[in-house]
Structure formats: C-alpha cells, structure tokens
Subunit: 411 residues, 4 copies
C-alpha cells in the first residue's frame, strides 16, 4: 500500500457525531470514492425505524465513515501505549472497516429473509471485497485478511469485528444521536482510551470496567427501545411480507413492476452458486438501494393483487398493523381467530390473511459468552471476563438471550 | 376545531434537535398522519447536499415537526407575556406550520426549474391545503387564512412566514445539526423568549438585539457554507440538466423509463390551469418523492443517450463536474473554449456539451429590507429596524444581495 | 401562599444544564433571594473533587436551582396525566426542594465528621427551614410538611427525597456535566416523562424500565468514578485530619487563627442541645462556607504545628498522600510499618503519624431495597420493584453494598 | 527541555469543554503541578459574574488547561500543513500558554484598580515566569521569549497573544459553556483548522472568513451579554469600593481584619519597585485568591464602619445597587441628587455616599485594527484584513469602541 500523503491532499469530512474526519491516505480516499461505498449513501442504517424515530434516517455511509474514524482513534491510542502497528497495518485495518458493510442491501433483514436467502450480508461483503481487491490490484489483500481474522495481530480483526469493535462503538453512538434516544449514548472516547492488548488480543484496562458495564446496558437499552421497537418491528415484518408476496406473484408470472435491479431478484431464486458463477447477479446487487424498494411500494400500492397493494400502501402511509408483545408464545387458536375475524372485512382468503395476521419472536443477548468475550486486564496482567469482573451485572442474566413473542393483526 | 385532548391520548415524538415533541391535539395528530404529510418523510430537506455533508439526510417531515414544536414554544411565550391567543388560534397556527411545506417536491429547486415550471412550491402548498381542508370538513380554514396572511393577528402569519418565522428558526438549527456545521447553530430558544407583539406584529425585545445579529450572521454562514456550497451547487445543476434532458428525450418520443408518477411530468408540460382542472395531476404530484428521482437516475445511467447516461452516473457515483466561483461573470469565450476542448473526448456535439459546460449565478441577502423587517422594540415602546438598531452590522451591506458566478465543466 | 404572578414579574435564570429556569412565583423568588440560599453559591457541590476533575467547581446553589427546575417539570408531567396537584401544593413542593440542601456546610462530610458531629446536615436543614418559616410568617409550613413526609400526597415528598427524587436526577446530571464524565449523563427528561402515581406514591411506567436500569448503572458509575474517586477520597480524608488537628490544638488552648465563624466551631464542641438553645451557633453556621476553610488552610500552612502545617500545604498544593484500594481490610502490621518507616523522615511521633498513615473503608449500594423502592407499574395496574422487574440487573448484587478499603500513607 | 515521554507516564485530565486533555511532556506536567499554577484553581475566571450566571464559577486553572489543549491542536494543524515547529518550540509554546495567566489575582480588575495599582497582571505574570524559570533551571527561557514576542516564529507568540490567540478561543467557548449563554459558542475547532502561516505570522485561510465573522460577532455578544452585563458590572464596582474603603480605613490605622496575605496589600501602597526589591511582596501575592476576598467580606459585614459593612453585606447577599445604562454621560446634578436623596436614609455623609452613588463608563471594540489584525490569506497568497475581506461587517463600526455610561445608586 501507499505511504501516507501530506496533509494538503487529504480530505476532511464533517460528521455531526465525531466532528471532522480526516482521510489520511490516498488509497483509503479512493476506496471511499468507489461506487460500492458511495452506494451506502442510499441505504439507511436503520431501515424503517424512522417511522418511529423520524430523525433516524442516517445512512450506512455515515456509519462507515464513523467507524473508520474510531479505527484511527483506537490505533493512535494503542500506538501511544507502546504497541507496534505499522503504517501498512493501519491502512489495512482502516480499509477493512471501510468495507465491512459492503454487503448490506436495502432493508437488510427484509431482503435476507425474502429475495436473497442464500447468502447473508457478510458473504456478499466478502465477494465485493474480492472484486475491489482486483480493481485495486491486490492492494486490499491485507485488509481482507484482517476482516477474515487471518492475522497474527488478532486485535486488528477484533477492532473490525468483536463485541467491542469500532462498528458497534459507532453505530450505538450514531443511532442514539439520530434517533434522539439520548440515553443510548456511550462513552466511545473513554472506552477506546481504555483499550489494551494482551497476547495480541484486545482487552480493557481495569479502570474501564464501569464504562463497559454502561456500554452493555446502553446497548441493551438501544435494542429494546430502538432496534426491536415494536412499531419498527411490525413495519419490517410488513415489508418482508410485501416482498414475499411480490416474489410469489412474480414467480407465478404476474406482472410486478419494479426497477430492473429489483426485478432480477423478484423473478429468480438465486442460490449461492449463482452469485459465484454469474457476475451479473452481483452487479445488480451493487445497484440495489432503498430507492428501489420504496419506488416499488409506491407502484404496488395500486396493484391488482389486494394483498400486495394493501401492504404497500400501509407501509407508505404508516397505517401499520396492531402488534402485541408477550413473554410467551401466542396460541394457534388466537391467531386463527384473528384471521377469521377480519377476513370477511378484507374479502381475503385465510391463506391471504396470513400476510396480515402472524406471529414471530425476537430475541437479544446483551452479552455473548464464548469465543469473543470482553476481557478486563488488571494491573498484575491477569484478565477476567467482564461478566465475571463486574460485581453488578448478573453473569447468567447477562448472556441469556431475552425472547419476546409478537402477534400482528389488523386494527 | 376540536378542544385540546387529555394527555394520555397525546402522542410524543422524539426529535434529536428539540427533544420530546408533544402533539397537543387530535386534529393536529390526524393532520400529521395524513399521507400528504407522511410523504415528507421521503423528501430530504437539503436534496443533494448530503454529497458534501453526509449527515445532512434529514427530511422535510422532521423539519415540519420541528417548526411545529417551535410554534408551540412561541405561542406559550407570547401568552405568558399577556397576549391573548385563543385555543382555536393556536391550533390554526400549528396546523398552518404543519402544512407550510406540503408543496415541496423532491429536490424542489431542480423540479421547479424543469418539470414543474408553471407553479412554485407555495402555489402547490395552497392547492394541497385546500384539498386537506375539504377532507377535514373545513376545519383547516383558519389555518389557511393564517398562512395567507388574512388575519387581524398578523403575528400569527409572521410566525409561519417572515424573516423570523419558526420555519427559519428550525431549519437553520436543524441543517446545522445534521450537517455538522456547528457554527450555524442559532439560539432559537433565546430568540423566541425575546419575541413580543406590537400593533399585532412580531417584534423583538431590545435585549435580544445581539441574538438577532448572531442569527443573521449564522444564517449567512449557513448560506455560503452549506446551502450554496459549490459542490452541492454543481450536483444540483447536474440533476437539473439530467431532468431537462430526460424530458426533452421524452417529448421527442424516446423511451425514458421512470415510475408512473415521474413519467407524467416527463411526458407533459402542465400549465397552472392543468393543475387546477385535472385533479389527477395533483394526485400524481402527491406521490412523487426522492425515490422516484434516484431510481430513475439508476436506470438512466444505462440509457442509450450518452448525455443522460453520463449525468445520471456522475450524480450517483459522485463524480461531479469541476466548478469555479467568481465575483464577476465568466466570458462566453471561456465557456465555448471549455466546450470545444472536451467535446471530442466525450464524442458529443457542441449542443450536447452545454449539459456539461455551463455558467450560472447564485446570490443571497443576509437580510431583506422592505415589508418584512425584523423590528426591535425598546422599553419606551418605540421600534427600530434591526439594520438600524445594530451598531455593528453594516446597514447597506446587510441588505445588499451578494452574487457569485459559477462555471462548471468536466475535469 | 400567594397565587402565581404574571410573567413579566417572573425571573429567568440561565443554567448550562437545563437551559432557562423560570421562577414562577414571588414567594419562591424571595426564598431564593434569602441569604440562607444565597450562601449555597459559596459551597461547592463536590468539595475537593475538583482536584481530580477541574471542571467540578459547581455550587450547591446551581444544584438547588436545577432540582427546582426538575420539580416543575415533574409536576407538569403528573398534572398532564390527570393527577390533581393544586397551585399551593406545587409551590410548597418547589419551596421544599429549594430548602432541601440548606443544612450543608462547606465540605459537608468533612465537617460532619469533625466540627459538627452532633447533627447531620438534614437536622440543620430542618432547623433553618423553621427559621425561614418564621421569617415568611408561616408561609413555608406546607413545604416543611412535604419535606418531612407528613402529607397525604406522599409522591410530593418522594419527589423531594427518595431513590428517584429530583435531587438525585439533578445532581447526577450536573456532576456528570461539570466533571466531564459524560458517561454519567442520565435521561432525566425521559425518566420524568415516565413518572406515574399509584396510591399516592411515585411509580414508573413499564416502558421506562430501561431508563431506570440505565439510571442505576450511571449512578453506580458516578460513585466509583467521581464521588468515591480515590484521589478525591484521600484529599477529603486529609481535610478531615487537618480540621481534627486544628480543633485539638484549639481545645488545648493553642492559637489556631481562622475566621470568627469557623473559630466558634474549632473552640467548642457543641451538642444538639446547644444548637437548639443558643441561636448564635446556628447564626454562625449560616455564615460558614468554603472560603472559611480554604482561607484557614492558607494560614495554617505556616502554623508551628508541623502536622497541621503539612496537611494544609499538601491540600492546597495538591501534593496528596498515596492511596491504595483493596477489597479486603489492610492489616494493622502494614499500617504500623508505614508509620514507622516515615516517622523519622518527618520528625513526628507515632501518634502524629496517624494523621498521615491511616485506613478507612467506603461503600455504596447501587440500589437500596426497603421502604423506598423504585416501583414499575404495568398496564394492568400491578407494580413490581425494579430489582425484580429488570431481567438484567442482579437482584442481590444490586442492593448489596460494595465495600472498598483504603490505605493512605506518604509517598 | 526534555524530549516527549512515553504515553504511560502522561497524565490525562477530563475537561467538560474539550474532553480529554493529555499532558504530553514531563516539564509541562511539573509546571502544572507547581503551586503558582495550582493557585489558579482558587480564582474564578469571571469573578462576580456568577451572581448573574450561577454556572459561571469556572476557574482560571480550567481555562489555562483549555488554552493549553488548543495550543496543541493548533500546532498539530500547522505541522500537518507542512510548517516546521520543533519539539522544543512546541513545548515552549505550551509552557508559555500555561503561564499566561499567572499574574491574575482574585477579581483581577477589582484588585488592579485598588490594592495593586502599580502593576497590571501582565507585569506580575512576567515576574512570576522569571521566578519559575529559576526554579526550573532556565528551562522556561524559550517559553518566556515566546510570551514576550521575541521569536523569529512570531506566529507562536500570536497563538499566545493576539486577536486570534488560543487564550481567546478557549475563554469565549468556556465562558459561554459555563454561563449557559449558548449563543456565544464559537467554532474553535474550525477556526484552528483554518489557521495558516505567512511570513511567520498567523493568517486564516480564505474559506475561514465566515467563521471569523461569526467569531467576532459571538465575542461581541459575550461582551454585552456576559462580560459587561450590568448586574455583574455593579457587583464588581461595589467590590472595588469595598476594597478601597477597607484600604482607606486600614491606612488610617483602623483595624480591618483579613488574612495576612490580604492585609499586606491593605496596609501598604506598594509601587513597582517594591515588587522588584522585596520578594516577600510577590510571595504574598502568590497566596492571594478568591477565598481571601470573600472571607474578608464576611468579616467586614459586621465592621463598625457602615460603608464597609453595608457594601460587604450587599455583595454577599446579592442586594445590589440599582444600575442605569446610557449612551451618554450622566449629569453631575443627577448624581448629586441621588446622593442627597438617600444620605439621610443611610445616615451617611455626602463623601460616604460616593461609595453608593457613582458613575463610570465601559467600552468594547469588537475588533482592533492596528498592529494585531486578523488577516485572511487567499489562494494567490495575498492577504487582506478581515474588516476589509468581509463584505458584511462594517469596517468602521467594527473597530470603533462602543461606550456605555453607567450610573449606580441605592434602590
């Protein structure tokens, strides 16, 4: 990779969350300029959550830049503590974080549960990284190895992907900032100041323990208050149902107008092999963004199929289904009763009603034990998992997923 | 209109700029729920400015709610100072501000200069207000009269539209917040606390003079640093040229794919009368949003017409034309030279080159003298125009528009 | 009490934490103007903590105004939810919170452990409230009853004093703000919005549970990171020792110069009865503030007594003793060894060395179970203690005090 | 000077305004630890202004650290733009800014107009710097030369002292932050990012022009709204009168109790020569802080002299004189009339009444033309004074001092 360039050629971007973000190197600047990353400007970080929190329309592009900024901060802190990180390694880690979200499509979860079931967004990210690496003549190889975890300096990978990665540090802060849920704000500055390395792995200084406790609690709060907010959930489920319905109609040969890029995915069921053998599919994917979905909904709201039309209009006009949340599953009888009750009103079959009456469950662990623990390092060099180090957080509760069941039906 | 409802039925919205925003009344809540206002969720406040300031993707919907919030604050302040404002008047003023941006299409200026030349967004706002008023059985009549300025309590109109209206107070603060240009932040709280009424007109208490000075300087700073930022300007000009080209091709009978709502405006040149006599046109308008334009650009980037294809791709990938700014006009020779230089490279005719090489001028007055002065009121009851009251701002300079000429051409 | 006054006579105070604070009533304004409350301008909220966090020099006066502001917010929220709170009750609750910190002397804990052992600050607060009530011709009686908890509307007392009182909500936010420990910031706005009343007691709406969890974690973080910061602790212990030494010398008849008000307390050991029978003692107390202590230290740094001189100079110049923290008590042998080691160096007796070598322990419960629980109310009207309602916080851990032992000795 | 130390030995201070402030070098850390700088912890930045803005109790110590932080930022920016600044020069500039406020006594202006008339705070700063330089074995020589302006790299001096120095950039931001006058906030980050050097002098990049305009307007606003706020003015004048009276009584041989350090200055009229020849005087000065003054006022409120007693009590209890402000001088008749009116009520002589009835004038220039202009540099390398470069600020008005006359008298 290139060596760092003098300042005058560097670009600075204004970010409402972190302030000025400098791009410290030409290849990183070129990477940001690439259409694959520019596309992230057109994909909202939180999908339909802005139906609940109107401010939360920030994009994956902003988040990518923010995580990139925190990577620079973390590397500076670690270097200042005496750890060797070469310029090449630094650039590679920066490039890795720039590319970490490449594989996200619009409304990621909706897409992954409907039109692109065969790969998840991390698979696609890797495919796109390989493409970019060709385009940049192999200059991104080190970055990709960091992304995959193939590096002796495992902490570089952990900065990109772990329970304390800069991805999380940025998105929690950013989602909190834009949604206006100020309680979710985390002390990313302080947490980064507390990072240390032991045996090439990321650990946290002992005095950072309260910051980590607070980080975990804030994360949990953001889950229940924002990411799994029931109104956002029902909107997303309705979008999933709309896309499912559109594909079914399309596969049955009905006309379901959409932009050409979206049509590709409506009309076909691609498996992973198709992605690998037919470059056109990935090409189309790299053009997809929120606009294709929203434009389609606007056309579909006038579709002959009443299910598709009704779901589309409801999302656009924010006339959402009613949603109930419970700690225990909803009975089949209850679900059937809801279907029967409304089906005449809607003039739909029982099968069609399943697009409007359905159940699901969501869950979240505040902290995952296993391979990716957050470890606290003490002055004597010993380390302890945060769930053991904290005298407040309940070790078992912390790592046990909390499940909630939801039931949606028309008002 | 209805009387205020008890709190439990009121809705609260989280806003990152103002905090919690309460909707104090049922009719106002229903108005916000209406698809005409929900549409504003899909129109960015600052169009393509996010190409410069990635955070600036906030929507007209957020701004509308923010201005609505400030209206409430202003009315409370004025009532606390002993001025009579009835509940009906308050609700009407709130409704007026909720509707003030209804007529904005996606990328307003681009559209008003190309596809919808015959009306400006204020005309369309009024048409839509009338429609809403029918829908709400005349309950919005008072709001519309306030919007038009047909009210004895002129200050209510001035809160909606003047050089110190809540529209401006919100958008300056909000645009500053989301762009990250923190210097543009204004003390909207303090300014509102300083509002007074004299002869039914809005004035500012004497001790608010420094706040107003600062408001004007911040506004000016936002103009040059954000609204008229040269990169945002060139992007907008390119979008205008893309839309112009698309319509020309369309009028020539070429196929220019787009969503049905956008197609309507590409294929026809509607005059004001058409809008008034054919309700379908306004219907289509109320569906148009940013997604139609962005989706179209993504399709057009592969269009046979090289001009349209190139402009579309350039906007999407942020490969913008070079732009020069000058205090004086650019010579015709210079413009022609640029066209000639590059036309062979592009394989375009001189006429086609005018989409890529062009000049324009932009201007801004920090303060407009005339009918809508900002007046300072002194303890003796006398008033003075801010440009006279301030011993620092240059009276002439303040109100003289500053003009800049721009020249755009390929790199 | 008086009825609310028109706005123009109301005063507004600028607060960096909450913004504009209005004083909504004459008697409240007069109360704030009284020298007893003005004195709080000269007492820092966090004593010597500014030796660690230089920004933390905010005063008890600011905090008092801030808690006063939150009282107003809380009452508005509760009224809007349909609960009856009369103007008189509102004014009384406001007055109660204005007076809640009256009894704090300078460096409260230091004083309560040395010069004024017989009463704690709450006793003195009550004595001063009674005096003020006389001054205000009984107009503060209702406020005092609320402060004491003698009111049917127990929630008014709980707003003044409980685990979720406006005192705490303000000081956590304020101490976090001024110390710069941004992680301690709590969502006081949101918590207050979630307040409800059941059986005349304060409860929290079910959807506020995450906010309360976060409040408790933030509070805990503030304890360990700010209130019990080891450098602040050692400074406070040294101040206690300086005051103890000064009094001992004084009682032995040695001259220990100080302001007359401080001298009173150095030369005498007043018991509670003295306070009640001799009004001059309370008079002197109401003049004491941080300035008396700091001025005295500056004089004492040149005192003949080496212990007093050394302690005084060390605090002023921030040359603090070394402090060690441990989960288990320090052994007597270790303490003696430290004394022996340094006593020759200092030329002091073993007894004198106990001012420089000492141990102590500090403890903190994140949450106290017992009479003052924070209760969550569910939609069906049932309530549950937060430590049971939260599926994350460890019930036992939450309420178990965490103890730390400290050992201080010269470097 | 020493070379920079590894990070682990570096200290970090939490600042609510700038965040974490690192002390990058041992000598700088030792300098901060010195009692001369620690003393600034006990001197409020804004004296009695906290009587108006209760939050404004921040200290000169915090400000010193803040300016220190901005110095580091500015040096990094300039180095990144390719300007050579050696480690020694950087440390010297940092040391210079750490020492720039050394000479401030408590309530500086009050003291300089009464007890210490012969020197201003800058003279004393230099005396103290020389002493520190001896203590540090000459290691501060370069810093002192920068402070005095004796350096080829004039921009280093200008960072310490000019119309765009880091002193001003910090205090405007800090005073705005702590007073809660949020409109005074300046974009110090952006201004520093725009700094450049031409001919060894500090200039500002062309695109920074709006930031400078805003800086000047914010500064002006802070002057009228905070620094010259009429309530703060009258409080300061009363303090000056109290100190004058105390000295007069003291010189007449009356007992005026005070701490020994304050007594020195009450009982003597030192001229500059005394300071230079008698080191004890400077010693006493270095112990003086806000506590001496406030403690004295508390004692004096019971003094036999009614003038001293009344002034002291009034300041402490915030019962201030009435103050009127005018653009023109007040007539002698008016002043005499006020004296006559109240003198019987107070039982004072006409001469004594002059402590309670007096006039004065205050003035402020937003921008000073002359040797210390703020210059804008254009892309062609030419420079222009900001008052000429700005098309909005009125050149003449900008630099013309605005004068106000005040008249104070008892209510």
């Amino acid at each position: 990779m290139n060596t760092p360039q003098p300042y005058n050629q560097r670009k600075i971007v204004n970010d409402p969350v972190h302030g000025f973000i400098s791009i410290p190197d030409n290849i990183l600047f070129e990477l940001i300029e690439h259409p694959y990353i520019q596309r992230l400007r057109r994909i909202k970080q939180l999908g339909l959550t802005s139906l609940v929190y109107p401010g939360a329309v920030h994009t994956r592009f902003q988040h990518t830049l923010g995580a990139f900024y925190l990577m620079g901060t973390a590397i500076t802190v670690l270097r200042n503590k005496g750890h060797q990180i070469s310029d090449e390694e630094s650039i590679a880690a920066h490039a890795a974080i720039l590319m970490h979200d490449l594989g996200h499509g619009p409304f990621s979860h909706a897409l992954e549960q409907t039109l692109i079931e065969s790969l998840d967004h991390e698979d696609i990210s890797l495919l796109l990284m390989e493409r970019l690496n060709e385009h940049f003549n192999g200059q991104l190889s080190a970055a990709i190895e960091i992304f995959k975890g193939n590096t002796g300096k495992l902490f570089l990978h952990q900065l990109v992907s772990s329970q304390l990665d800069v991805d999380r540090l940025d998105y929690l802060k950013r989602d909190s900032f834009f949604s206006g849920v100020s309680e979710g704000v985390i002390g990313s500055d302080r947490i980064i100041k507390m990072l240390e390395i032991k045996n090439n792995e990321l650990v946290v200084e002992g005095k950072g323990i309260y910051s980590i406790e607070k980080f975990l609690v804030a994360r949990r709060l953001m889950y229940w208050q924002v990411y799994l907010h029931k109104t956002a959930l029902v909107a997303e489920k309705m979008l999933i149902n709309a896309l499912k319905r559109a594909r079914e109609l399309s596969l049955l040969g009905k006309e379901v107008p959409a932009t050409p890029f979206l049509e590709t995915f409506l009309r076909n069921r691609f498996c992973k092999k198709d992605f690998l053998t037919n470059p056109k599919i990935l090409d189309d994917f790299t053009i997809l963004d929120d606009n294709d979905i929203m434009s389609a909904l606007k056309i579909w709201r006038n579709h002959d199929d009443r299910v598709l039309a009704c779901l589309s209009a409801s999302i656009l006009d924010r006339k959402l289904l009613r949603i109930e949340v419970s700690d225990t599953p909803f009975s089949d009888e209850l679900i059937e009763r809801h279907k029967e009750e409304k089906k005449e009103l809607f003039g739909l079959s029982t099968e069609e009603m399943s697009y409007f009456v359905f159940t699901d469950h969501v869950s979240n662990s505040t902290y995952k034990t296993g391979g990716e623990n957050i470890n606290i390092i003490y002055k004597d060099g010993s380390t302890k998992d945060i769930s053991r180090a904290s005298d407040m957080l309940d070790h078992t509760a912390l790592s046990k997923p909390v499940s909630k069941y939801i039931l949606c039906y028309p008002k």
